[in-house]
């Protein structure tokens, strides 16, 4: 029961969060300075997601096997290898390191 309550509540908050900007800002042209800030949001938010999902566990910072997997992936992405190959290699590197340690 509590699981269903959580699932419905999270579905609702997610939908509201996603609707907030589109409804509130609507089709208005934003001022040019705001557009400059928005253009920088993708690299900033993505970089923050990469480092937090690699180097943190809850509120703890940590470097473990997944950091090595991500480092290998970074080199492969830089060499422009296909995404699925990159992901599977990173998974294999991480799993191997965990099996060895």
């Amino acid at each position: 029961m509590t699981a269903w309550l959580m699932i419905s509540a999270l579905a609702v908050t997610t939908a509201l969060i996603k609707a907030f900007g589109p409804v509130l800002v609507g089709g208005r042209e934003l001022p040019p300075t705001a557009v400059k800030v928005i253009a920088l949001l993708p690299p900033v938010l993505l970089a923050a997601l990469v480092v937090t999902s690699t180097l943190s566990e809850g509120q703890r910072l940590q470097v473990d096997a997944s950091a090595a997997g991500v480092a290998v992936a970074a080199v492969m992405i830089w060499r422009r290898l296909p995404l699925l190959v990159v992901v599977l290699t990173a998974v294999a590197v991480t799993a191997t390191l965990r099996a060895l340690t």
Binding site: I17, P22, V23, L24, A39, P43
Partner: protein, 216 residues
């Protein structure tokens, strides 16, 4: 079907395979945390937000209660506030239509649809979300039924899928040299906040690094 919607469908396919793997590890973890397979699958179908689902199920599974669990999940989703505001001027129609189009904002689609000048291709964004939604839900089905036999998905290195997924999107952004400094600043802000704030807040707060755009 518009040309950019079709381009979006194609662009979304590689991410849907990666999303499948990610959703599979979600399905396994959710079942191990005490959720039924049906609950895990329905959650993926109605929430469709990876980091929020991982955070919320982990907290509820650990006995953390509904409110903290929903709050943590919503905080993980807080970045969609910034993303939603960013795409808003590029959407079309009345408030209802816009709200619906806003639901197709998921990280890869949003990043793929970014034209780099502050505007977004909404058809491409919506197209890219379609295969990813299919991959996300079907991956959860696979993981939820593997469930208890699978063991710890971390043992198989599946937790690395999430950061690599975002790294691939980030790499495309960093081809523009003007993005590099702010990306680094965002990463540093996020890391600095990890020990002091609940998960989700560091990523949202990192968004403030984009304010250097005011000075450009």
């Amino acid at each position: 079907m518009s040309e950019s919607f079709r381009r979006g469908l194609r662009a979304g396919v590689p991410f849907s395979f990666v999303g499948f793997l990610l959703a599979m590890s979600f399905g396994v973890l959710a079942v191990q945390a005490g959720f039924s397979a049906v609950q895990a699958i329905v959650m993926s179908a109605v929430v469709h937000a990876g980091s929020a689902q991982f955070a919320a199920t982990a907290i509820l599974g650990a006995g953390g209660g509904v409110v903290p669990s929903v709050l943590a999940g919503s905080l993980m989703n807080a970045r969609f506030l910034a993303m939603g505001i960013a795409v808003a001027p590029s959407l079309g129609g009345g408030p209802g239509r816009r709200a619906l189009q806003g639901q197709t904002v998921v990280d890869p689609s949003w990043a793929l649809a970014n034209n780099g000048d502050g505007s977004f291709d909404r058809h491409l964004m919506m197209g890219a979300t379609v295969p990813q939604y299919v991959g996300w839900v079907s991956g959860t089905v696979a993981g939820a039924f593997l469930g208890d036999v699978a063991g710890d998905p971390g043992r198989f290195g599946l937790d690395v899928v999430f950061p690599v997924f975002f790294l691939a999107l980030l790499a495309a952004e960093l081809r523009d040299p003007r993005s590099r400094g702010v990306a680094l600043a965002g990463a540093l802000i996020a890391l600095a906040l990890v020990p002091f704030t609940p998960p989700g807040v560091p990523v949202l707060a990192a968004g403030t690094a984009a304010l250097v755009g005011l000075a450009r």
